[in-house]
């Protein structure tokens, strides 16, 4: 950072930060993009503060959704209504929004969370959605159907069942259709996981021309990879562990260290790296705060005898096997 001679141009830094922020909202945002963003953010504190400043304002503008008209062009309506009337209307809508959160309409809407983010959404039909870290979810409600597209990340759904309007979660070529239920869907780069805690869902795929469906009851957990669908039965408490993120926790049970590290890395900018392949296969158990990477590293050292190398500047904690 050229701290002593020349100030960084706020305008040029903001331009780049805004560009990242805009691109981040698109469905094509990849892990590589995230890495590039993280690296830009760590280059200078000026980058970080400019990004945080723009992001917080941009996120606040989400509240404008209460102005969303039932149909037609939002922009033209905004311009037609005199400002005072708009304010009164908005105040009323804000009150309504306080209880029902979001009005129903036939337009789509995007919900996002960043790294380590967590958001609860109450939809107009009483359906609740909880977004886990780094998630992009698109809502499209019409009179005939309720379609949620999970572009990235993970979400928990408590669906208000409606025979006339099926609730469908789309993930790539797959779809999960609610049959009166609570379930979660997680999208990783190479796989899709669906767990059902109550009721039943139908997991469908459009991969082949005729399509195929499988029913998943409560307690079932499906792992979908490119090659196949594997269905497990999980005890309620084990399935609950998969949802510990709702309380900000991570639960491991004989989990390989590499896998546990990958879980932490979903939530934190500070990354856990398993430097030594011998350490990767060691298994660990316990309940941890998602954000407490250091606590986890300390426990791993105490239980497994791994060595910790801490690089605070790069926000990397590296673990390697003991002697």
């Amino acid at each position: 950072m050229s701290r002593t001679l020349q100030l960084a141009s706020a305008r040029s830094v903001e331009e780049i930060a805004a560009d990242w922020l805009e691109r981040r909202e698109t469905g094509t945002w990849s892990e590589e993009d995230q890495c590039n963003l993280d690296s830009w953010l760590s280059q200078a504190y000026a980058h970080k503060v400019a990004y945080l400043r723009l992001k917080s304002a941009w996120d606040r503008a989400d509240r404008l959704v209460v102005l969303r008209p039932q149909t037609g062009n939002a922009e033209s309506r905004l311009r037609r209504i005199p400002p005072v009337a708009l304010r009164v209307a908005a105040a009323i809508l804000l009150l309504i929004a306080g209880t029902t959160a979001i009005r129903e309409s036939a337009v789509s809407r995007v919900y996002t969370t960043g790294l380590g983010g967590h958001q609860n959404i109450m939809l107009a039909d009483g359906t609740r959605i909880e977004l886990n870290t780094n998630t992009v979810l698109r809502e499209k409600y019409t009179d005939k159907s309720r379609v949620i597209t999970l572009e990235r990340g993970e979400a928990y759904f408590a669906v208000r069942h409606d025979e006339a309007r099926p609730f469908i979660v789309k993930v790539g070529e797959h779809s999960v259709t609610d049959i009166g239920t609570k379930f979660f869907v997680r999208r990783d780069t190479d796989r899709l996981s669906v767990g059902v805690t109550e009721g039943r869902v139908e997991l469908g795929t459009a991969r082949d021309s005729r399509g195929s469906q499988v029913l998943l009851d409560a307690g079932k957990f499906a792992l979908v990879t490119h090659a196949k669908i594997t269905i497990f039965t999980k005890a309620p408490d084990v399935l609950a562990d998969d949802l510990a993120w709702r309380a900000g926790m991570l639960v491991f049970n004989h989990t390989p260290l590499a896998e546990a590290a990958a879980e932490f890395n979903r939530y934190n900018r500070e990354k856990l790296i398993i430097a030594d392949p011998r350490a990767a296969g060691l298994s660990i158990g316990g309940t941890f705060r998602q954000t407490d990477v250091r606590q986890f590293a300390r426990v791993a050292r105490a239980l497994l005898g791994v060595h910790i190398k801490d690089k605070p500047a790069e926000q990397i904690i590296s673990l390697s096997a003991g002697n």
């Binding site: 100030l7 698109t26 000026a46 503060v49 789509s108 995007v110 954000t291």
Partner: protein, 198 residues
């Protein structure tokens, strides 16, 4: 299972003080406590710095320094800390600038930055928020406002907005970026008007 939705889990100020500060704590603190002081900070800079075109750069530098300091320890009394950081930055900049007289530096050193922050009425802020957002929205250039509205109210992608507005993807990108910058300026900077009296 954690069935009830608990929005209060976001508020954990007590955890902030103390030795180990996580990056995420600092980020949240910065957004929650420092950014709302933007009007005060900008006014301080304007009052004490003649070259108005440099104000945004100076403000960004103050933010960067405050953020960096908080990584070690989150300061207790935030407003005096932010203003002291600003003052020190201005003094350093002035000393570098040979034409500025020693008197100007001395004046700046006398500036009182110790006034504690006024506790904000969060309920009032919540009520004001939508009005402020709408005001900010009306300040955007027409095409820019249209793009922001389509993104925020209808959740359209860049491509969809481009089709709707009959312009290129890149033009939409430009509008959204401009929209973000203007909204940030209006939302962080133009609020808390009573602060201006100081």
């Amino acid at each position: 299972m954690v069935e009830p939705l608990d929005p209060s889990r976001e508020h954990t100020p007590q955890r902030l003080r103390g030795a180990a500060v996580s990056v995420r704590d600092v980020e949240e603190w910065f957004v929650r406590e420092v950014l709302p002081l933007e009007t005060t900070l900008t006014h301080f800079l304007r009052r004490n710095w003649r070259k108005k075109n440099e104000i945004p750069d100076l403000r960004q530098e103050v933010y960067a320094r405050v953020y960096e300091a908080a990584l070690t320890e989150i300061p207790g009394n935030i407003k005096p800390f932010v203003l002291a950081t600003a003052r020190n930055l201005l003094i350093n900049q002035m000393r570098r600038d040979r034409v500025v007289s020693i008197e100007a530096v001395a004046d700046l050193e006398k500036v009182d930055v110790s006034a504690p922050e006024v506790p904000q009425d969060r309920a009032l802020i919540a009520r004001e928020e939508l009005r402020r957002l709408q005001d900010a929205l009306t300040k955007l250039p027409r095409r820019c406002r249209q793009a922001v509205t389509l993104r925020k109210l209808e959740g359209l992608s860049r491509r969809e907005i481009a089709v709707r507005m009959g312009v290129s993807d890149n033009t939409v990108r430009r509008h959204l970026i401009d929209g973000m910058r203007i909204l940030a300026e209006k939302l962080h900077g133009d609020e808390a008007k009573p602060e201006r009296a100081q």
